[in-house]
């Protein structure tokens, strides 16, 4: 079948790489995939409630881009953020426990799937209002400029955010004030159930950068090394010149918008075509091409399996969330 316009990016060769570079990235992608598969299973068993938005199929985007950052750099994400949290250095245990609503969860069971936060790794959240977090990310970048601390902020959002005011205003101010930020549009083709061609007159989101004199890039997210190379350019620009960039990475989510969405608005052929470009499989094949030993690959995969099983066990066995926080002001009783 023919891919929609939004998916058309110039075909590119896989980037040259080595086992040493690719193996840790593959390991992260695999852990995210397995963590989300485990979460989906727990959700279907009623152990995880509310909304659960899985990133399965898009792992190369968060893993490849966060690999370019220093620990002190900020990451701001949407409600589809388990992968970004993990890639930023948060362990699977507190993430999984948070999804379970447990006391040991990353935010003590008070945030849930959509609101992971971790001050220690400079992970500034998990935000649930589409596009509303783009100005927040610009604010973190504003603080870096105010202080001259050299940090870079990376902000993720979906193609669906391109139509909302928060995105437009965050983009405009980041450009006007030359904030050290990389705005990454994870174009997964759908805003919930609406395909891009029904929500944007011009489907190339990165073109919005031109109106603001901002650097832009757009490429296919099937190769984690390509994501890393291209985002590194934008991060370097932010770090050395303080200039923002808008980067659109074309990708695909294999599942519905959330666990409650079977994704019936898509054809089986379409999903199959994208599955053939699965960035996880590509990374694995590539790893073999560049010479990983079978034994090393097996060990890596076993290690991930054990890590996720441990995280699930930890979440299962943890005590329930036990208290909400006092509100900051005591309102009328």
């Amino acid at each position: 079948m023919t891919l929609p316009d939004s998916a058309r990016v110039e075909p590119e060769q896989a980037e040259p790489t080595t086992v040493d570079e690719l193996a840790p990235l593959y390991r992260q992608m695999l852990a995210i995939r397995r963590m989300e598969e485990a979460a989906a299973k727990a959700y279907s068993q009623g152990k995880i409630g509310g909304f659960l938005h899985l990133i399965i199929g898009q792992e190369a985007v968060c893993v490849g881009s966060i690999a370019t950052l220093k620990p002190e750099d900020y990451v701001v994400a949407t409600y589809r953020e388990h992968g970004h949290a993990y890639a930023k250095g948060i362990a699977a245990r507190p993430i999984m426990a948070e999804l379970y609503g447990k006391k040991t969860g990353l935010v003590k069971g008070l945030g849930g799937s959509m609101h992971l936060f971790d001050k220690a790794t400079n992970f500034l959240g998990g935000h649930g209002i589409v596009g509303g977090h783009v100005p927040l990310a610009a604010g973190a970048a504003f603080a870096s400029k105010y202080r001259g601390d050299g940090r870079v902020t990376v902000c993720y959002f979906g193609d669906g955010a391109a139509t909302i005011g928060g995105f437009a205003e965050g983009l405009a101010l980041a450009a006007l004030w030359k904030l050290p930020i990389v705005l990454i549009c994870e174009n997964n083709q759908y805003s919930m159930g609406t395909p891009l061609y029904r929500s944007l007159a011009v489907e190339d989101v990165s073109l919005r950068a031109l109106a603001h004199g901002m650097a832009r890039d757009r490429f296919d997210g099937d190769d984690v090394i390509r994501v890393k190379r291209r985002i590194a350019e934008a991060v370097e620009r932010a770090r050395t010149t303080g200039e923002p960039s808008l980067v659109e990475i074309v990708t695909y989510r294999f599942r519905g918008h959330s666990m409650s969405d079977p994704g019936l608005y898509r054809t089986k052929d379409e999903v199959e075509e994208w599955r053939r470009r699965d960035p996880l499989n590509r990374a694995r094949e590539r790893l073999i091409e560049v010479g990983i030993t079978a034994a090393a690959l097996d060990a890596l995969e076993a290690d991930v399996k054990a890590e996720i099983e441990d995280a699930v066990r930890f979440a299962e066995e943890s005590p329930a969330a036990d208290a909400y926080l006092p509100y900051v002001t005591k309102g009328a009783q």
Partner: protein, 327 residues
Amino acid sequence: MAVISYREALNQAMREEMERDQDVFVMGEEVGHYNGAYKVTQGLLQRFSERRVVDTPIAEMGFAGIGVGAAMVGLRPIVEFMTWNFSLVAIDQIVNSAAKMFQMSGGQFNIPIVFRGPSGPAVQVGSQHSQALESWYAHVPGLAVALPSTAYDAKGLLKTAIRDDNPVVFMEGETLYGTTGEVPEAEYLIPFGQGDIKRAGADITLVAWSRMVHVCLDAAKVLADDGIDCEVVDPRTLRPLDVPIIVDSVRKTGRCVIAEVGWPSAGFGAEIAYQVQRHCLDALDAPVERVCSDDVPMPYAKNLEDEVQPQVADVVAAVRRALYLDA
């Protein structure tokens, strides 16, 4: 003690706090080169430079969100809305981001931000620029809501707001900027949740905030001529609300009138009326009265604008009803 304007008191509060703490900065439309649409930020740009007095384009959601993001990583922004009417396009950032971040992040991220600007009806500026929105923000847990009625309160409350580690909605009376009052030279802070008796009296309690404090004080003067002694209680912050100061006053007087410039339906006065009946039922000699604006968007014509808003005569009438002096 120096007598200065409400506007100057706010300006002093910001200047002093910016001098005290390098992380405090001001951001908003026309706050710098224009010296503030209402001149509250006058002179701050000259003193602190463009780094700390940041003029923004017309993008309330954008710069309110930038303030929240900057606060997440430790700065202490003062975000000025040219008027609170325009905060409605930024309300997602105030309610969904600023107010919730502390709880939602498991207590990891405080948001030390002040959203401030003129609020309440002004004079003949029409429906979209003339409204009181404090009930909206007072509804939201995670926010503090302050509404100073005097120059003294304005300075003391704003300094508290800037030092608070949590988001504060700071609503200045648009028609109060030119009013004057005594403000000490020495530094002082007014804690949130601590109301003030603006006039002591024995016969009836009037609860009011912001400009309505002055309307009630004028009504008290009129009523004093008839031998009626009003106590005027100004809670100063609606969230947190100083319930004890209201309860103590009503238990003393046995009667209560709540005067607010907001609309009656779901107005904050209803919450105060609930508190009064809950805590003072045995002491009440009459039903609690409320005085509000009429339940309509603000008309432009001066006579209709006056008719819609609570006036001294409306407060006087409510007091007389509560004293069973009129049928």
